[in-house]
Amino acid sequence: MTWGVAGLGVTIGSQVALSGIDLEVHPGMIAAVVGGDGAGKTTLVRVLGRLIRPTSGRVSLPARLNVGYQPSASGSWPDLTVTENLRFVADAHRMSSGDARKRLDELLAATGLESASDRLASQLSGGMRQKLGVAMALVARPLLLVLDEPTTGVDPVSRSELWRLLSKTAAQGAAVVFTTTYLDESERAAHILALESGTTLVEGPPDSIRDSLAGQVWRTPDKPDSPYRWRRGREWREWTADGSPPAAGSPLEPDLTDLLTAATLARDGKLI
């Protein structure tokens, strides 16, 4: 059983938001959708959440009952407590009282929100609120979990807790699609879809994305005189299409951040 989109196109008004997007996920798989602001990540997850109609292409989804969705704004009701938020989702899914109580206890424990169960969602920290949003999306044990930037604005500890939760969810058989602007985070996913201006920049498992980039990425001590350069911390990077070495520098096994930056530059010839 696989879910996803094929040849997806979305036009909003006169603007093409997505064009020719393919993404396929299966049970147990985590897929990351990455890209900068305005790349089309939210549009894609809104299609998967049945919030936007595709203009073209095919979308395969489980029944609504089996899709867990978290909007970028957490999706929790600020004037309900943590338990009340989760209980509302359970009631909307018509879960029995006993099943709901058991599931809520499981999720509160998994997210570390037990001690905050009686606090209003508006009184939670950003990280706790995002965890609540993920827990709400997980209440009905969905076959497909769709999360829009669940880790944005979340501290590193909460991010790793969220990741543990997503890994466990996938291990239990759900397909997970999440968006993120943190490129390093996407390395944890089995499949990556990188979007750029509504189109696919690169797509596939992290290793195949590494293989797909032609040329070579170089670490350079000084600012290179090339349009294909970018800065990482105190160092500079340069990408050469034919693999030829720059004036100064050493070859580098690029991580995903370098790969996707190089791929973006390679396509657009942009200066950073």
Partner: protein, 349 residues
């Protein structure tokens, strides 16, 4: 400071609703107040019945606009007409006695009629004047039924619109859209609490009003309940419509007030409709509160029967179906489900 002023002007220029409130509203209010704000009643709608109807109609001063002269009519005919609020004054002229019945529920017209009748009584020594429905010509008796409508408008339109906009602002409307809830579940679930609170508010206003201000309740509770129900659908529908075109609670309040203010001023609640210039009076006749006011006053003060109030009830029903229907459609669109996306969306099971 200059930078701050320029920045503020730029923001105001882009906030079209605030701009409208600041520039258009004063002009509208000036015009509306100028033409509508009048308590003076120039003509008193009058019916004359009884054997001496022709004679009495002839000697009545011009202030009395005689609509009906029927020598076959009697006290019963007069009462029926007054209960329907079709005239302010009904005179029954029998051989030895002339009785004038004034509809006290039409306060300003009734006051004008009483004064004019006192003058006319000099030419008709046998004239006996009786003020019906609101014998003391109390302002509270006329205001309390209409205030019930105002409460329904306040809760139904302002509070409901705020409640729905709050969902949009918090991003939870999107959450509702993806949950396994039908749009009708969300819609009914969303407005049901406001429906109940508004109903409870109406009961409290009417009970306190009748107990504290001695406002009579002469008619059928059920007719008033029916009218209130239909009016509530209108106000809740207005609330949802306001929310559907508002991005935040501030905008919702602005717009809700824009729908509330004309109803308060032009529904006959404060200024009598018959005193307004024809140019703005027609506005009063398209506002829902006007018809709720007619029903509430008719039931509470005049003991009007269902058949007497058929017209305002029917209009409330039409407005209710139209506005509430429109609100349901807008709400469904706002929920934005793509479930009906046809063959391009393959939904499994």
């Amino acid at each position: 400071m200059w930078a701050m002023i320029v920045k503020e002007f730029r923001q105001v220029r882009r906030d079209h609703r605030t701009l409208a409130m600041m520039i258009v509203m004063p002009v509208v209010l000036l015009v509306v107040f100028g033409y509508a704000a009048s308590f003076d009643v120039s003509g008193i709608d009058t019916a004359v019945y009884g054997a001496g109807a022709e004679d009495v109609a002839t000697i009545l001063p011009e202030t009395f606009e005689v609509e009906i002269v029927d020598s076959a009519g009697d006290v019963e005919s007069a009462m029926e007409l007054l209960r329907k609020a079709e005239v302010v004054l009904a005179i029954v002229a029998e051989e030895s006695q002339v009785a004038a019945f004034v509809d006290g529920s039409q306060l300003f017209a009734a006051r004008a009629a009483s004064q004019a009748l006192a003058t006319a009584a000099q030419a008709m020594p046998s004239l006996e004047i009786e003020i019906l429905f609101n014998p003391g010509l109390e302002t509270s008796a006329v205001l309390v039924p209409g205030l019930g409508g105002l409460i329904l408008l306040f809760v139904g339109t302002i509070i409901t619109s705020l409640g729905v906009v709050k969902e949009r602002q918090a991003g939870t409307l999107e959450q509702l859209a993806v949950m396994p809830l039908r749009p009708s579940d969300v819609f009914i679930g969303k407005i049901a609490p406001y429906f109940l609170v508004a109903s409870l508010d109406l009961v409290i206003v009417l009970v306190v009003g009748t107990a504290l201000f001695d406002v009579p309740f002469n008619g059928s509770v059920w007719i008033l309940a029916l009218g209130s129900l239909m009016f509530l659908f209108v106000t809740l529908g207005l609330g949802v419509l306001v929310s559907s075109v508002s991005e935040n609670q501030g905008q919702a309040i602005q717009l809700a007030l824009m729908t509330l203010l004309p109803q308060v001023l032009l529904s006959g609640l404060i200024f009598p409709l018959e005193s307004m210039a024809a140019g703005v009076r027609w506005l009063g006749y398209v506002l829902p509160l006007t018809y709720f006011n007619l029903v509430a006053q008719g039931v509470m003060l005049r003991d009007a029967a269902f058949s007497d109030l058929l017209f305002p009830l029917a209009l409330l029903a039409v407005l209710g179906v139209f506005i509430f229907g429109l609100a349901v459609l807008r709400f469904r669109r706002d929920l934005g489900s793509a479930d009906d996306a046809g063959s391009k969306l393959e939904a499994g099971t």
